[in-house]
Symmetry: D2
Subunit: 309 residues, 4 copies
């Protein structure tokens, strides 16, 4: 069983949770989705995050999804989002996931936290409830949680709690904050979210990889692995070719519907259904997406040919 | 089986959800709590609201609590809070509650709603999912949800959906809005929250009663029933005597811990435990509460003697 | 010239800014307002705060108001609110005020500050721009600014910058935070806002006085001075008698219109006009206020007679 | 004197306000900045917006800037941002600007507005204060103001007030809202902000142009004018080539510092100074910007050569 640690690098794709057209959990599509991510260069997965519609699952569904993802993942490490309004529920799902073979858990601050010392107090309680052997990824996503955390607090968390080994960086604008954490703490894994919108800049500032749900994992993999091998220019060239679609998917709210539609078209999942309440794509949205995909795929092919020539 | 409707009046106490010291659901304390509310003049109860720590319950616990409250309530109508990030889960709990004998359900807007037309769209979906026979109380609580709704939207909701028969009014400041809804729609039940902090003014502006969790239900009952019988001055005299404690309990966050402590002291529940993450009372908080209770109870007794004299 | 310092105690009334019916600054009413506050026991005043409609004044009007208030105040210390989107403008008004004889300045965090370290950086720049001889009151009012600050940051500010001698405490709920600051820093002046809604509890937890704009300064003075003389019970009795009106005035938004109407009725200012955009009182609001004032004044008179008997 | 109206199309660049190194208003740089925008294809300008640091200007500085911009603009239409906490100040600056030859004014909702009917009430007061002859651009920017407005409210505003002829669209995600306004109201000018991040999609959905402050106006002009001439593909090709820099400049907060630095490098203004409190670029930020500019300029040159070939 692989665990995440302070040296974890690469691409952890944020996985969608597939539903059938009738809204039920689609376990077979979990299998195809895992295969899809693995075949396109993902180093790991993060499941039951915001994009995974976790708050819309019952506890039973969450556990069923965890089991199925982990079963199919084989050796690929899987981080499980366990954020919850209840610390007991958080710890319960965390224990279940670790028993089932998860590589760690991801926890975002609950929205009612106000000052940064209440964040510290909350994570102390979370770590105690999880136990010291469960590796934790701190999700810094103030656009969603409303909880703003300085680099100093992130450093305090990872130093006070050795099990907090990873930062999911998605504050925005956040490049200066990423640099501050990186400079002070070379040994914390930093993976970047925000739909990948600033990924080359984040890698150039010392991030260790990506953790986001862009529906073409080959972009994430291509950019991150090129960069980690020393080819920053090639990584950024590839990124720039994909950027129109990255920017389009990164829109809050509607982005999830776009991603599920792309995953469906590519055969990764059977239905693009998002559980209610959730966004739906209009005919105008679909036509726009057709156009953006066609343009982007042509551009990426062109880049490939130039690189090959 | 009594259902709430547009003529519902009186006091619907927001019920706490009792937990044992080990954090498990305390079903026996549900019985004693129902008896406590009933003996002190409540006309009905609302369970699984914010004060009921609903987001910290598993679906099984929610159903167990619903069954126990309804079983003990006898003829007293019970409204069940069913707000959820998932419309399916909302409808599922709603159907369970109505089957078990609930008088209606309460639904707050989900925080991701932005403009007022998205609120209207959301409630249309909620009403369709619940079915037209389930009476709905619209909870207007922007301090918690972040969703701001004008009187015009509330009126549209109750006119477009005959099953939306009740408003839980707790916008603040909200007196002008209450007057606007009342003037335009004499036949919608308006019960007031916000810890009761403006209760006499709300009743004088035409509200039909209270729906809040003040731990001394005899205050709510005394004020509302006096007012409804035409004794506005007596109602307000009684309210003013209790006001220092009303104001103290009404503090966001810590207020829940204060209320559970009062309920415990009065024998209504066995433990004052709040599920984590949640507020806890410090020794300073407890000493302060002792003082406030002693002062308030003496004042209320004095008022009673003056009224009796 | 008196300056505020770490030992400052008592009542600093937040002063309204009077306008004539045509919306122009009413300098003559500044004189009568100062006299009104002084005659009813204020120890000092704070001008150009939120309640003073400072953002609606031009720089010239701000300076004219500062000069007039200070000229009339005689020996009474006056704190001047200088919060501004521009640090240069803040420092400019601060220098003007201190030259004119102000006792210090009050500064709230600008809303764009996010994490607590940006608050610290901002106050370092503010203190540098003001110069070390200008005493500063830190206004902690997250309900308005959106900037949440822990006790640790307040302590850091007052220790890093000796000129930050005073805290205007108006976080809510904020009693635990007040206790934490008081316990760690016995020598910082803490004056309390929030319309005075928790004033007795705040004094009992070690606050040094009040800084709020309740339109009957004799309440603030009576409560604070009784408490500081050791009569906590008498202070709280007096407070409780006024509480229905305190709670009514404390409503955000509409509260300013209520206060100016009360000040006008009592002869302190010539017009209750609030500059647009701002709240206006409806006939229902005015009738409600009549009733609340009549009830409260009768209760306070009754208390006086009981105390005298 | 040209006025904006419901048929206005093209590029209205959001102009920076230039300051000298000592922080004073740099009037000479206003001249060079106007020339810079005009030479690169701007159809008009919008001054004293958020990017223009308007809240950091004194009223005198605002008027001096308005006069200088208008004097240099010659026939180019100029919209003046007049948003203010005071409706009188808003109307005063509006009258000054129109007298000086402005083409219209831009007004954002004030942050204290809550429900959408308060937005309607506010704009009724604003229009009355401005007078019916002043064309108004409604700025829909909820990320900054916190005020969320539905398409229905925008349509109501432009129908109730014929002088509200233009929408500055910058809600995000906002494509569906733009389509809804466009479908219902073909005759309202819609110019798009948000740093241009979604400009091709917005044009394809019927927007009339751009109103944003990207520091290379030739991109805005090239994209918008190509599109308006019917070359949607060419417009989007050009946009995509610039997108890495568009995305980089569009970051909230730091984006203003980046833009002023680019304008300084290109000779449009003498100093990149942003008034305090405001962002500053670190050495890492500057090196990152160098790289992004070099890459983007090379790509755009390459595109030009391909188009020319």
């Amino acid at each position: 069983m692989t665990l995440i640690d302070r040296t974890t690098r690469g691409v952890y794709v944020i996985a969608a949770t597939p539903f059938a057209e009738d809204g039920s959990l689609d376990l077979a599509s979990i299998d195809s989705l895992v295969d899809y991510y693995a075949a396109r260069g993902a180093d790991g997965m993060t499941i039951l995050g915001v994009m995974g519609e976790a708050p819309k699952l019952t506890p039973e569904e969450s556990r069923a999804a965890v089991s199925r993802f982990l079963s199919r993942a084989g050796g690929m490490p899987v981080i499980v989002g366990v954020s919850s309004p209840s610390t007991d529920a958080l710890a319960g799902l965390g224990a279940f996931a670790m028993d089932a073979g998860a590589a760690g858990v991801m926890v975002a601050p609950i929205p009612s936290l106000s000052t940064e010392d209440t964040v510290a107090t909350y994570y102390a309680a979370v770590c105690a409830a999880l136990g010291p052997d469960v590796p934790v990824c701190f999700q810094d996503y103030p656009q969603l949680t409303g909880v703003k955390v300085s680099a100093a607090t992130i450093l305090k968390l990872t130093r006070d709690h050795p099990q907090i080994v990873m930062l999911k960086h998605e504050d925005c604008p956040g490049l200066a904050k990423l640099s501050a954490v990186r400079a002070a703490e070379p040994r914390m894994s930093i993976l970047c979210g925000n739909g990948g919108l600033y990924l080359p800049q984040e890698l150039q500032r010392g991030a260790d990889g990506a953790m986001t749900g862009f529906a073409y994992p080959e972009m994430l993999s291509g950019v991150v692995h090129r960069h980690l091998k020393g080819d920053a220019d090639g990584a950024e060239d590839l990124f720039d070719a994909w950027l129109p679609l990255i920017r389009h998917e990164q829109q809050p709210g509607i982005g999830l519907a776009i991603r599920k539609e792309v995953l469906r078209r590519r055969g990764a999942i059977a239905s693009s259904r998002v559980r209610a309440p959730g966004p739906r794509l209009s005919p105008a949205d679909l036509a726009e997406l057709d156009r953006l995909i066609a343009r982007t795929e042509a551009r990426v092919r062109g880049l490939g040919e130039r690189l090959a020539a």
